[in-house]
Amino acid sequence: MSGLILNNVTKQFGTFTAVKDVNLTVPDGTFVCLLGPSGCGKTTLMRMIAGLDLPTKGSITLGGEDITEVPTHKRNLGMVFQSLALFPHLTVGENIAYALRIRGMPKADQQKRVDELLAMIDLAGFSDRSVNKLSGGQRQRVAIARALAISPKLFLLDEPLSALDAKLREAMQVELRQLQQQLGITTIVVTHDQREAMTMADTVVVMNGGKIRQAAAPVDIYRRPADSFVADFIGSTNLIPFSADGNGRAIILGEPVEGLALGGVNSGTISVRPEDIQITAPESGSIPGKVSFVRDLGGTVETFIEAGGQQIVAVSAPRTRPDVTVGQTVGIRLDPLTSVVLTR
């Protein structure tokens, strides 16, 4: 068995359970994002993978070897911290060479590797600079190069881009993904930013309350959320309650809708993405509602509609924007193929 395997990993701090019975398999060379709100246990999970915290229960296997009890410094991994944790008393080159120096690599080889890494992160010639005199983005790159110096089996990043401004962050996400694909290194990133997760990951692991709610490819997470938490956390969505009428139809906001795969349940919630909601004239077969607000953002138009006592948001491109005004009565159509029935 290769790759990283977490088996029933649980972490308790006193009476508080930070991570509960987590099972996860990360195949070699994949990019996984642990995504969730703060306090969901994602950082604790990463710290256990790094060996900085020990699991209360469960086991962690890397490349077929049980590393649950192996101390951090013997795990041969690379980790980038949220604070970056660059050593302030060392230069850029010395920071990157730290892991090599600890392993007793000859000075000349160290310098060669440092130059290689500096070229990779576009900071060639920065070797003798003080880390305190770098910009945020440069410090970020140095932290990444330092973690990759020994070509680790596993590359961990804890909220690595949170200190950067929005534009730089977007650029770094793409760079990080390209770097990972180029090196083929198994990578795990902790983030609370869903855009970041969607941009970089092969697999997004959505966590809440110390548990994995769903682990799937980004598009699947978005298109087929496993539950209402995932549907609501990833992107924005309309969560609408429904009940089955017994003839295979669902009663949504008082109107029967055909074609939903209800899976035999009597009632539940459906998740409909705002871009999948169509606004029409108040005609038969559509759900009647009243426009309460229109937010024109230039690139997209959001229409807020009151229907059956609930607020529904529809998003459309400016070219296909519905010709509606506040207070107008309209009809809503849901696409049964893109609406997801949530049973839990």
């Binding site: 060996g51 690379g78 392993r103």
Partner: protein, 284 residues
């Protein structure tokens, strides 16, 4: 916030009080001492104004040289002992729970309330043959029979380190608490064992604080004169003991003043050297 430099003379008024205190209680006495160090001693009396180098000349001798050397050696040894004990202790303390930290700090602060005399006599009892810790070692079977550990150099060192350690911890504590704990974690993920991480990351990252602590304890220990007398042999007496002896028992104020001025100059030179060395290393 923008700070404007003081514009009018009245803006300097808040400085008047501290400046006045400093002049009255430091500058004037120190200047007097420098002046007295050039005065002539009057046999059977006090001293008379003069400008002679005799007092300094008398000081340049093997005997006083040895005492000065020992004083500096003792102060440096105490400073190093305090820092060597203080850094790991404070590092571990800063990683414990808040409540435990407060308890330890209060206990350390309470040592500061003990006078040098009490510390001296407490240690001389602890190191004595009749009531000392060697009785405990004998009871535990570690020693054949109790023995006196004082007077000795070890006893002087122990008591002075004990006295200076609270200051060391209190100076190191804020720096260690502020030290980003992820620095050591980063070192560990990069392959350094916890001990290695401590020596390759924590200690070098705190170099300036450590240097400042060494200087502070050095100066603190240089002025010690009671503990060497209580716990040491005459060869363990510091220059401060001789200065007191000259000033109070021999009534030779000019000579005592000359020794004091010399001591200040030598320690200033050493501190300057340490700061210079620290800067040089930083520049590399």
């Amino acid at each position: 916030m923008r700070r404007e430099p003081p514009q009018r003379l009245a803006d300097y008024a808040p400085l008047a009080f501290p400046a006045g205190m400093l002049i009255v209680f430091f500058v004037i006495p120190f200047a007097t001492m420098i002046a007295v160090s050039f005065f002539e001693r009057e046999q059977g009396g006090f001293y008379q104004p003069a400008f002679v180098w005799d007092n300094y000349a008398r000081f340049i001798s093997l005997f006083f040289g040895k005492v000065l050397g020992f004083s500096l050696f003792l102060a440096i040894a105490v400073a190093i002992a305090c820092v060597v004990i203080g850094i790991p202790f404070t590092y571990l303390l800063s990683r414990t729970k808040r409540k435990l930290q407060v308890l330890w700090l209060v206990a350390l602060l309470s040592i500061l309330s003990l006078s040098e005399v009490m510390i001296g006599f407490a240690w001389s009892t602890l190191f004595s043959r009749t009531a000392g810790i060697t009785n405990l070692f004998t009871a535990l079977g570690l020693m054949a029979e109790p023995q006196a550990l004082t007077p000795s150099f070890g006893a002087v060192m122990t008591a002075m380190t004990y006295q200076a350690l609270p200051y060391t911890v209190l100076v190191l504590y804020p720096a260690l608490v502020r030290l980003d704990p992820t620095l050591t974690e980063a070192a560990r993920t990069l392959g350094a064992s916890p001990v290695r991480a401590f020596f390759t990351v924590v200690v070098p990252a705190l170099r300036n604080t450590i240097l400042a602590t060494l200087i502070m304890v050095f100066i603190f220990a240089l002025g010690s004169y009671l503990l060497p007398q209580l716990l040491g042999r005459p060869q363990h007496w510091t220059l401060s003991v001789l200065i007191t002896d000259q000033a109070i028992y021999q009534s030779n104020m000019p000579f005592a003043a000359a020794m004091a001025v010399f001591l200040v100059l030598v320690s200033l030179a050493l501190v300057g050297l340490a700061v210079y060395a620290g800067r040089q290393k930083e520049a590399v």
